[in-house]
């Protein structure tokens, strides 16, 4: 009976892992990159450099907004922080005109409150949004889809644990062997050793969009969901514009007071309602990078007089738990060392999914009645593996390349950087379909290697912040980014070589274990 349970769990593990495996691979790659989204954004905006304090930058941003959007109903300001050099502003106009796009009501300012001359790009932020909003899809469909994928992943993890109980009892049995078992070993190593992380990241991932997937916990107690949100996130009642103009009080002292209240923690977010009116109010929220709970404390001020109105923080054990879970997933609280650990764990997760997908074909290749003509399902999996595992990373490299190569004054430049990612990926997919499988692997991995290697070269050729000048200047961010590109290029090249050199065994050929080194 036990044997049978193991087998059904093994089947379940295979199916839940395979069906959305490629989407999960994408989610892991983009999510892992997103841990450094701010650094990636800085690399993709080499013109940006700011020294002013967040308070000065915010005050300058307010001055800019007073000129550009004096009648807006609300202004949102994200001051520069430890990891970002620019101020992001966004406003809600008094009247929403049809055809108004996101770009019309948002701007990126430098620390002196001027529109930056920096290139139009979505930076690392795009990779973060790609992780759960995907692209070319209505956002809500994307979020449902990634939610389903995350639940499949959770079930795959749990069924994997049940199937391989023995590995947990003595995980010292794990072997980095060469040859036949190496795909299974890579999958086991990347899955088992970082299992606490994988479980945590999957469950907390579902929690980040919890009320989208399970709205009935709220519906059971509240006829109107708004009442629930008011109860959990108490907010001052929004007042209407009085029509009497009053200059906005100085923001600088408000920010300092808030930081002082919060024991030195930085302000992450400022919301100004009815600016320039007597009924203006300013609400500051604690930066998510300053504590593990993602939902920060807030402090509100009267906008015209600068008087303190009140403070609030999300209350309650369950809300605090949710806040910590979301904080754990996004890792915004992490310092540099922990952030690298998150990144490494994400790479392990990516390896787990990738090796799992490859393992599926590796296992079944032996059982093919005619290895030269596999059945359709096998061919689809094999081609998708090549296309996604080498194509998506190659696409990201091309996103960085496009950032350097697209003309600065081009229209919709940021969108075209994104299109480049998908065009490259599509090209690799096409290539993977047309080539014989083994060649497809070698070439796909080689393409990825070449593209990553090209990034520091193109960076040096098109900006003043190439690797050598950055080393001279001690610019750690640019140095690390370029070096990481080179390391990734080396890993993909190594994998391509391994596949090229691997001679398949006569009795049951096995895909080479090259990529094992890439992933693990």
């Amino acid at each position: 009976m036990k044997e049978s349970l193991r087998q059904s769990m093994a089947s379940l593990h295979t199916w839940t892992g395979l069906l959305l495996g490629w989407l999960l691979f994408m989610m892991f790659v983009s999510g892992t990159a997103a841990y450094f989204q701010e650094e990636i954004t800085q690399w993709m905006q080499p013109e940006a450099a700011g020294q002013a304090s967040p308070e000065q930058a915010t005050q300058a941003a307010v001055a800019w907004l007073e000129k550009e959007a004096p009648d807006a109903s609300t202004w949102f300001i994200t001051p520069p922080g430890k990891r970002s050099a620019t101020t992001q502003v966004f406003w809600v106009p008094a009247e929403r005109k049809p055809g108004m796009r996101r770009g019309d009501t948002s701007a990126v300012l430098d620390s002196s409150g001027k529109l930056t001359d920096i290139r139009d790009t979505r930076g690392g932020f795009f990779l973060y949004r790609l992780h759960f909003d995907l692209h070319y899809l209505p956002v809500i469909w994307a979020r449902y889809l990634v939610g389903v994928a995350a639940m499949f992943m959770l079930i795959a993890i749990l069924s994997g644990i049940i199937t391989h109980k023995k590995i947990f009892i003595d995980f010292f049995l794990l072997r980095f062997g060469k040859g036949q078992r190496s795909w299974l070993d890579s999958h086991n190593v990347s899955a088992v050793l970082a299992l606490p992380f994988h479980l945590m990241i999957t469950y907390t991932g579902l929690v980040t969009l919890a009320t989208l997937y399970m709205p009935f916990g709220i519906a059971a107690n509240y006829a109107n969901p708004d009442k629930f949100f008011e109860a959990v996130f108490p907010d001052r009642e929004a007042m209407e514009r009085s029509g009497q103009p009053a200059p906005l009080a100085s923001i600088d002292p408000m920010m300092r007071a808030a930081s002082a209240d919060w024991g030195g923690k930085a302000v992450g977010f400022i919301r100004i309602v009815n600016p320039g009116d007597r009924n203006a109010s300013v609400t500051l929220t604690r930066a998510p990078s300053e504590a593990i709970g993602s939902r920060g404390e807030t402090l509100a001020f009267d906008g015209a007089t600068g008087k303190r109105l009140g403070a609030s923080s999300p209350k309650g054990g369950a809300t605090a738990t949710e806040s910590v879970m979301i904080g754990l997933h996004s890792g915004r609280f992490a310092n540099m060392a922990l952030r690298w650990l998150y990144f490494l764990s994400g790479l392990f997760g990516t390896a787990m999914v990738g090796t799992g997908l490859i393992l599926w074909t590796a296992k079944r290749r032996q059982r093919l009645p005619d290895p030269a003509r596999p059945y359709l399902g096998f061919r689809i999996v094999e081609r998708l593996n090549i296309a996604v595992i080498s194509g998506f990373p190659a696409g990201i490299a091309s996103y960085f390349l496009a950032n350097r190569l697209l003309p600065l004054t081009m229209a919709s430049r940021a969108e075209w950087e994104v299109h480049t990612l998908f065009l490259t990926w599509g090209a690799v997919l096409l290539w993977a379909v047309l080539r014989p499988a083994r060649r497809g692997w070698v070439e796909g991995l080689a393409i990825a290697a070449l593209m990553y290697a090209a990034v520091p070269v193109v960076n040096a050729a098109t900006t003043a912040r190439g690797l050598i000048p950055s080393i001279a200047r001690g610019d750690w961010l640019f140095i690390t980014f370029d070096l990481t590109m080179l390391v990734l290029a080396a890993l993909f090249a190594f994998a391509a070589l391994r596949v090229l050199r691997h001679v398949p065994k006569a009795a049951g050929s096995r895909r080479a274990s090259g990529s094992a080194a890439v992933m693990a």
């Binding site: 959770l154 079930i155 399970m214 916990g217 107690n221 309650g316 369950a318």
Partner: protein, 102 residues
């Protein structure tokens, strides 16, 4: 792929289809019913109870899905799930009718 399916426990295509139906839509209905009950009956502030039950719902769904593929008899599985949906769903419904919502 055809030869790979485990036939001992999961069974043939109909069996698999029945289990998938149990593990996805029926499971979601049952998880919803359980979540609603937890939200109504957990001894805490209603906003906190709603939050806590929502947080727990994913674990409930995942475990139920595993059960759907490990129970031997499909008719028993369905019977059990439907009965549970009626029980928990009924409980939540009665509680809402009696106590109202905020």
């Amino acid at each position: 792929m055809a030869g790979h399916t485990d036939t001992k426990r999961i069974g043939n295509a109909w069996g698999i289809a029945a289990r998938v139906l149990a593990a996805v839509p029926l499971n979601y209905a049952l998880t919803t019913a359980i979540t609603a009950c937890l939200a109504r009956f957990l001894p805490m502030d209603p906003a906190q109870a709603s939050t806590a039950s929502t947080l727990a719902s994913f674990a409930v769904f995942a475990c139920l899905a595993l059960i759907c593929f490990s129970v031997r008899s499909v008719p028993r599985l369905w019977g059990g799930i439907v009965a549970a949906i009626l029980a928990f769903g009924g409980l939540a419904w009665v509680s809402i009718i009696a106590g109202g919502r905020l």
